[in-house]
Symmetry: C2
Subunit: 125 residues, 2 copies
């Protein structure tokens, strides 16, 4: 499949795919004329990359742990494995923090709702 097809299937821009390749996150074979060709598997790979971006990882970090994804057995890639566990912990802490923030917002929402209800009740219609 060509780059436009992969882009639409994975839901990213063509620009992003070229950027991923530049950053070493994605590889492609080239046709005789130099156009990138991808296998169906790459769709999932791109979605996974997107997922990692959404979790706050940088392209550099993603590049470091992808070998661990591609060949968990090849050689025991200590660097990648370290990164993998580090990022797992980071995400864990981030979730914790987000939950606290969500609670703070919930309290604010409740407080505001109470005041609004009061106003509505105080001067109806």
């Amino acid at each position: 499949m060509r780059i436009g097809e992969l882009a639409s299937q994975a839901g990213v821009s063509v620009r992003s795919l070229r950027y991923y390749e530049e950053r070493g996150l994605l590889s492609s074979t080239r046709s005789a004329s130099g156009q990138r060709r991808y296998t169906d598997d790459e769709v999932e790979r791109v979605r996974f990359i997107q997922r990692l971006y959404a979790a706050g990882l940088s392209s550099r970090t993603i590049a470091e742990l992808l070998p661990c994804v591609d060949s968990p057995s090849e050689r025991n890639d200590d660097e990648g494995f370290e990164r993998l566990t580090q990022e797992r912990e980071r995400i864990d802490r981030h979730i914790e923090e987000l939950c606290e923030t969500r609670e703070a917002l919930d309290r604010l929402i409740d407080a505001n709702r109470a005041h609004r209800a009061q106003l509505a009740g105080g001067s109806p219609a």
Copy 2:
């Protein structure tokens, strides 16, 4: 308290505090000579702003919902309240996604650990 003091208490840079003021997230009184003065309350406010930044809100969005924080009763600020609930939902979805990503990483970690254990067992010492 002056800006340097607030910065160190809240754990942010002086530059950031000036930026927050510029963006309407923080206000200050000025001394006769024009230096910013803050009350103790501002420490908590700055920490809360940081929390919102960490949750992925932009300064613009934060500015839109802060009125709702400052005066939940004043006038029923529909704009701010809307923003508040929107961001609450966004954070909720983000947490969901992060949890899924964490699970994906856990599976990867397990797979890698298994392979590493195998290697260790297969050729010991």
